[in-house]
């Protein structure tokens, strides 16, 4: 299969997969030999039709597929292979945070949503917790909307606010990398615009990998784009190149809307 993958300079790589394969139920081969170098402090978009396994790939990066699938190959992070059985996945997930398709705040107050995992990690000082809540809510551009109702239930927020709360909750763990699985797919256009603005502002401090169905969204906010097709990675390059001068025919057809 025709393929073009750009290289990222070693010192700029935040995460790298080598020959990643994912199998479901022992026999279903979902992801084929994906090797991808993800740059730090940038947004990398993963695009492709439904069933292209882009979400499967994303969920392998923080080992969320552990229970449901077999993942082979290497995922290099901070100089070691994190796709190894001896890796402490709990520590790993604190450094590689994740935001999901549907907003999934806990059935707790806004404040507790952010502090629950911190408390579980042994942070007890209430001044530290207060500060973490404010910092992460500001970073997720939610602070001004909720600062007077921190002790209200998170379930009372709108969908867009809930999703930004989920981002704030992930940021409070001070991760290196943020994985976003179609974070705007359940949101209305106004909330989506706000979310995209938030992500752009976070780019300077975090490495972000985002699955999206929406090609406009990928072109608007991402720096790099990877195109997946039926479990294979077809093309990976800077976003403007993918959308203006793709090198692989299949990518071009997808961008032009011939299928998908």
């Amino acid at each position: 299969m025709e393929q073009y993958l750009t290289q990222i300079a070693p010192e700029q790589r935040s995460l790298e997969t080598k020959n990643l394969n994912v199998y479901y139920g022992g026999t279903i081969h979902k992801l084929h030999d994906v090797s991808l170098q993800i740059p730090q402090n940038a947004i990398t978009a993963l695009i492709g039709a439904s069933g292209s396994s882009k979400s499967t790939f994303l969920r392998s990066l923080n080992r969320m597929n552990d229970k449901v699938a077999k993942v082979t190959g290497q995922i290099i992070y901070a100089g070691i292979d994190i796709n190894h059985k001896d890796i402490n996945v709990y520590q790993l997930r604190k450094q590689i945070g994740m935001v999901f398709q549907r907003p999934n705040p806990f059935a707790k107050s806004i404040y507790d949503n952010i502090t629950y995992a911190l408390k579980a990690n042994g942070v007890k000082d209430s001044a530290v917790l207060d500060q973490a809540v404010e910092d992460s809510l500001r970073a997720a551009a939610l602070w001004d909307e909720v600062k007077d109702s921190l002790h209200k239930s998170a379930l009372a927020l709108s969908g867009g606010q809930q999703q930004r709360l989920c981002i704030a909750r992930a940021l409070a763990m001070k991760p290196d990398i943020l994985l976003l699985d179609e974070p705007a797919s359940a949101l209305d256009p106004v909330s989506t615009a706000k979310l995209e603005e938030t992500l752009k502002q976070l780019r300077d401090q975090y490495t972000m990998v985002m699955v999206t169905h929406n090609m406009q969204q990928a072109s608007r906010i991402s720096d790099y784009t990877a195109f997946f097709h039926m479990g294979n990675i077809v093309e990976y390059d800077r976003t403007e190149k993918i959308f203006t001068t793709p090198r692989v025919t299949l990518t071009e057809q997808y961008i032009n809307g011939s299928f998908g």
Binding site: I87, N88, Q91
Partner: protein, 304 residues
């Protein structure tokens, strides 16, 4: 940055608080599960051991126990015949269930086919109430309403098989009904639409298509009802008259396995033949309960 990454690498390869939590959680939930398994095994073992004593240490013949109606264990091992109680238990169970099934089907059809939301809700509450009334209360109602009524209509003491059947009828009704409703709800809506579109009347559709499709579920419901009737103790004991006699008509006093156990266990001395014989009745109950379970499983497998 590189320093931070270095410490991260270190952490990533070490166990942490979470690793311990995971072990802890798995262990205590597994302990509950193992506890339940041990409990059930212990029940079967204890009842089995005590129930077999009459046969092993007192040398009662299994054939006598099952087929003889001579029940007078105080007089010796030849008089440990449980046939009268076994027959009564089955008779009461079958007749109570037969009586309840038409009502349960009617309620089930009414609640799934007629879509008056409010009425359905009230009926649902009603069925839950019937299921929630304690069995001794049913027994008490049997003693104060049904027994005198039978006495007036048919003469005699009033205590007897018929009273037992009527009390059990009301008790198994909610069990059979709620499971029948589940079974009927499981029938896909297209079945009905297709049949009605072919010009069948509502009743033809319901009886030939809906009920037929729901048959395995309804059978399961009936088995559960039978199991409840067979195992119910106090309500039956209060109205059946407690005389170990082969039933010859519906108003004669009799005793079921459960009623005999309930009323006599306190009157026997632990370890005697009379006591062991009662435990054999308990073992019979246990085995029947396992058999009901097995039948439900077989029906379930056929369905799937």
């Amino acid at each position: 940055m590189s320093d931070k990454k270095h410490t991260h690498t270190h952490q990533l390869q070490q166990a942490s608080r979470e690793t311990r939590h995971e072990w802890y959680g798995k262990t205590i939930t597994l302990a509950s599960v193992v506890g339940i398994i041990i409990l059930v095994v212990a029940i079967i073992y204890f009842i089995g051991q005590r129930g077999l004593a009459a046969f092993t240490t007192d040398h009662v013949k299994v054939t006598d126990f099952l087929f003889s109606a001579d029940w007078n264990p105080l007089d010796g091992k030849q008089y440990v015949g449980a046939a009268a109680m076994i027959v009564t238990s089955f008779l009461v169970m079958i007749l109570a269930t037969l009586l309840a099934v038409p009502f349960a089907l009617a309620l089930g059809i009414f609640m799934t086919e007629f879509t008056k939301k409010r009425l359905t809700k009230y009926l649902q509450i009603m069925i839950e109430l019937l299921a929630g009334i304690p069995s001794v209360v049913y027994g008490f109602l049997g003693v104060t309403i049904i027994v005198p009524a039978i006495r007036t209509i048919f003469g005699g003491a009033g205590f007897g098989i018929l009273a037992g059947i009527l009390v059990l009828f009301v008790m198994v009704l909610p069990t059979i009904t709620s499971l029948t409703i589940d079974a009927l709800k499981g029938v896909p809506a297209q079945y009905r639409q297709a049949s009605l579109a072919l010009g069948a009347t509502w009743w033809q559709t319901t009886s030939k298509v809906i009920l037929r499709a729901a048959t395995p579920g309804i059978l399961t419901a009936i088995i559960f009802g039978m199991a409840r009737a067979f195992g119910e103790a106090l309500a039956v004991q209060m109205v059946i008259g407690n005389a170990v006699l082969m039933p010859h008509n519906l108003i004669s006093p009799a005793a079921t396995l459960t009623s005999q156990l309930t009323s006599q266990l306190g009157n026997t001395v632990n370890g005697t033949l009379a006591n062991n014989a009662l435990w054999s009745l308990a073992l019979f109950l246990l085995l029947m309960s396992l058999a009901f379970n097995l039948v439900v499983r077989i029906i379930g497998k056929r369905k799937g």
